[in-house]
């Protein structure tokens, strides 16, 4: 699971959960893969992201490096910044671990990089 997915993912399909975001990551295995840099895509995604949640997630995986804590208003032209964002969003992958719902503490296992968001019938 890439951090861009994590930034979109919530646990609000659980009964009684309103926001369910951000999910806490407890990773046991993290991998970095090379993905082609597409500045246009990253620029388009930045307004949609919850930047604080992204920084938190990156920090918990220990890959924050020198990613700025806030978005530069002029980020379209700042290639350095876009490259850093690209690395954190698309190149860091959680392979094994767990996602934890911030409200109920329900754990969603991550196996082979695929989070299991299936719920039991009594949780819907």
């Amino acid at each position: 699971m890439k951090l861009i997915t994590h930034n979109m993912l919530t646990s609000k399909s659980l009964k009684g959960v309103n926001v369910g975001f951000p999910l806490k990551i407890c990773a046991t295995e993290v991998k970095e893969v090379a993905v082609d840099f597409n500045p246009e895509f990253v620029t388009r995604m930045i307004p949609k992201l919850d930047w604080d949640a992204l920084c938190q997630a990156a920090e918990s995986l220990g890959c924050l490096n020198d990613l700025p804590r806030s978005v530069n208003p002029n980020h379209e032209n700042d290639e350095e910044f876009l490259k850093k964002a690209h690395h954190v969003l698309l190149e860091v992958e959680v392979i094994e671990g767990e996602l934890v719902c911030p409200e109920t503490g329900r754990k969603f296992p991550v196996n082979e990089g695929i989070p299991n968001m299936l719920l039991n019938e009594d949780e819907v």
Binding site: M1, K2, I4, T5, N7, M8, L9, T10, S11, K12, S13, G20, F21, V35, N38, E40, F41, R44, M45, K48, D50, L90, E112, G113, I114, P115, N116, M117, L118, L119, E121, V124
Partner: protein, 282 residues
């Protein structure tokens, strides 16, 4: 019940039906692969995304990532959701670029509001019409799915579903729940005159009423392609009076070719050689 055994939904729930063996077919069977990618291309066309802009797409029922690959080729980034872990492991083997997760459509799409620029789904929606557990209620699950999908799409975007409805009640059930969730839009049926090439697409809009895209292989489209023939109605009536053309005659061949063209099949163009006898020399 002879027909129902052909429908995978009647055999087992999707997480059980798509086991390792079934999933394997999606890498080895070239015909299946071809059909899947053709349908994805058409779905992408109906999605009408801005040209040359990389978009963030949700693929519902992504399976082994065949549809995702078509999205990648068009330069989009995708997230896939599927209920079958066997299908997702095949996708991992195929090394698709998108990110995937295990999830059930009927339990809702658990994404933040406005995350995606569009959603596609190839041959998955009909599974929601079945109740595989006693606690399942298809209308409720459909509504949950459509309402959560509506919220995770950005305004003005579209969702395109290719699906195989079993009967007209299922189509009604699905569209009803989609409209209840706030979507507008409707059904686009490609090649409606052919049993084999016929494909159903549910095209849903999030941003108010828009004109539905035209289906392929319908009468209107053919008329715009060629010049409209005046008095064609009268001619048609005269033809009916005269009755059908005798078999193997040129008219009979032309009529047959026309019929096949309407079904969306590959038919050679009509020329002066059509239906002409060979000379004795041959």
């Amino acid at each position: 019940m002879a027909a129902s055994t052909r429908r995978p939904e009647h055999k087992a729930p999707p997480d059980i039906f798509y086991n390792e063996e079934e999933a394997r077919k999606y890498t080895s069977n070239t015909r299946m692969i071809e059909i899947q990618s053709q349908m994805t291309e058409r779905a992408l066309e109906l999605l009408a995304l801005q040209e040359d802009v990389p978009c963030f797409i949700l693929d519902i029922g992504c399976g082994s990532g065949l549809s995702g690959q078509t999205l990648e080729e068009s330069g989009h980034f995708w997230i896939g959701v599927d209920i079958s872990s066997a299908m997702l492991s095949v996708a991992l083997e195929r090394e698709v670029e998108g990110d995937m997760m295990l999830g059930d459509m009927g339990q809702g799409m658990c994404f933040r509001a406005g995350s995606f620029d569009g959603a596609i789904s190839i041959s998955a929606l009909q599974w929601l019409c079945n109740a595989d557990k006693t606690s399942h209620s298809p209308p409720k699950r459909l509504f949950k799915f459509f309402s959560t999908l509506y919220s995770c799409l950005s305004r003005g975007s579209r969702a395109v579903f290719q699906f195989y409805p079993e009967n007209s009640e299922q189509i009604e059930l699905i569209t009803q729940q989609a409209m209840k969730a706030g979507f507008t839009g409707g059904l686009v049926v490609d090649y409606p005159n052919s049993t084999k090439a016929k494909k159903m697409f549910l095209v849903l809009f999030t941003g108010g009423h828009q004109k539905l895209p035209k289906a392929l292989g319908t009468e209107e489209q053919q008329n715009t392609g060629t010049d409209h023939i005046p008095y064609s109605d009268k001619r048609e009536r005269m033809k009916q009076i005269r009755g059908k053309a005798p078999k193997k005659s040129r008219d009979w061949i032309l009529e047959k070719k026309e019929r096949r063209r309407r079904q969306g099949r590959n038919v050679r163009p009509d020329t002066k050689y059509t239906g002409r006898k060979r000379s004795g020399k041959f």
